[in-house]
């Protein structure tokens, strides 16, 4: 298997956190850095999954699921956050919980310059939109940080985001 996209221990940790927190739905526009987690959730009959045509669909979906009593998490790449901004206001206006796990591009050995602008601005953009933003840089603490972000969102009706550092995924191999 492509070493970039093998299931990492920190992805298994996030999956365990999902189970402990009773996350019942995961939506995503796939990113290589989320592949392992997407696979784990897809194989779990207790977690529904939705592939989105654009990331902001996941924000409306999360709101509908929350109104109907189901906890969900949205997975996306940093570039996808930019697509979502106005739909975040649905969660803000209604004080509905919303959790984003964002795999970062554009911040470490980035090969594709087009990723740099959104990668640089995603943290401040989310802060501007009222999110509680957490950063996970170290594989050993990813699970705990995601657990904290999920708990804060559901306990306190917050929009939260964990920015998963590009170094966690490592350098993408562009030579293939």
């Amino acid at each position: 298997m492509d070493q970039d996209q093998a299931i990492r221990p920190w992805q298994r940790d996030i999956y365990s956190v999902f189970k402990a927190a009773n996350i019942r739905h995961v939506s995503y526009v796939p990113d290589g850095g989320h592949r392992g987690l997407i696979n784990l959730c897809g194989e779990d009959p207790e977690i529904g999954t939705t592939v989105l045509t654009t990331e902001e669909e996941g924000v409306g979906l999360a709101a509908g699921l929350a109104l109907g009593g189901l906890r969900s998490v949205l997975l996306m790449q940093s570039s996808g956050v930019g697509n979502c901004l106005n739909i975040f206001t649905l969660a803000e206006n209604c004080r509905l919980p919303l959790v984003l796990l964002v795999t970062m591009r554009g911040e470490f050995a980035e090969f594709v310059p087009w990723q740099i602008p959104m990668g640089k601005r995603v943290g401040p953009a989310l802060e501007l939109m009222g999110f509680d933003v957490f950063r996970a840089e170290d594989a050993a603490t990813v699970g705990d940080i995601c657990a904290g972000a999920i708990d804060q969102a559901f306990y306190s009706n917050r929009c939260t985001a964990v920015l998963l550092s590009q170094r966690l995924i490592g350098r993408k191999n562009w030579s293939k």
Partner: protein, 193 residues
């Protein structure tokens, strides 16, 4: 062409255990005019999100019919939703699009449906088989029971006569709309248990 207020009122008659989402603009006012209800979620903003909110409700509450009322402009902004909904095809989701071919809130500018886009055809091409266009008032009554049948995802495009309606404006505060909805749903579940 169909008159919007009587059509929405007809479709919401005997609403039973249905959950209703109204997309921003005229559909919010139409749904409110038919009768305020705890289980109306008025989506006053986040244009493009109404159908996805409906999908979330449908997936989380497969035991209840979910009806999204929205406009052509709002649906166009979330066109990809048809494709996303089609991967699930929840049996309990209906999307009623009130298509007057205009952005009514902002000065009646033409939308893409005014230039020929057929939203029912788009929905079918995305994988939602049951997607139809209604053009006559007398077709609306027979649509109503289909909203409750939970027999498959349905899209119904109602071609609406453009024009102003009496201004009927529901609660605008999102926290009240959402908490009323969730509390109302819990209470309704208990009442039906």
């Amino acid at each position: 062409m169909i008159e919007r207020r009587p059509a929405v009122a007809e479709l919401l008659k005997e609403r039973g255990n249905a959950l209703v989402v109204a997309g921003l603009g005229s559909p919010v006012y139409d749904v409110f005019a038919a009768g305020d209800h705890d289980l109306n979620f008025y989506d006053w903003g986040a244009m493009g999100s109404a159908a996805m909110v409906g999908l979330g409700l449908a997936l989380s509450r497969p035991d209840r019919p979910v009806v999204v009322f929205t406009g052509d402009g709002e649906m166009l902004m979330g066109l990809g939703s048809f494709a996303t909904i089609a991967q699930h095809r929840p049996s309990n989701l209906s999307i009623v699009i009130l298509d007057n071919e205009q952005y009514a809130e902002t000065g009646m500018q033409k939308t893409a449906t005014g230039f020929g886009t057929d939203l029912a055809a788009v929905a079918r091409a995305c994988g939602i088989e049951n997607a139809t266009v209604l053009t006559e008032q007398n077709e609306v009554a027979s649509l109503r029971p289909k909203l409750h049948a939970r027999s498959g995802t349905m899209v119904a495009v109602l071609k609406i006569r453009p024009g102003d309606q009496p201004r009927t404006v529901p609660e605008r505060e999102g926290t009240l709309i959402a908490s009323r909805f969730m509390r109302g749903l819990a209470a309704d579940d208990r009442a039906r248990a």
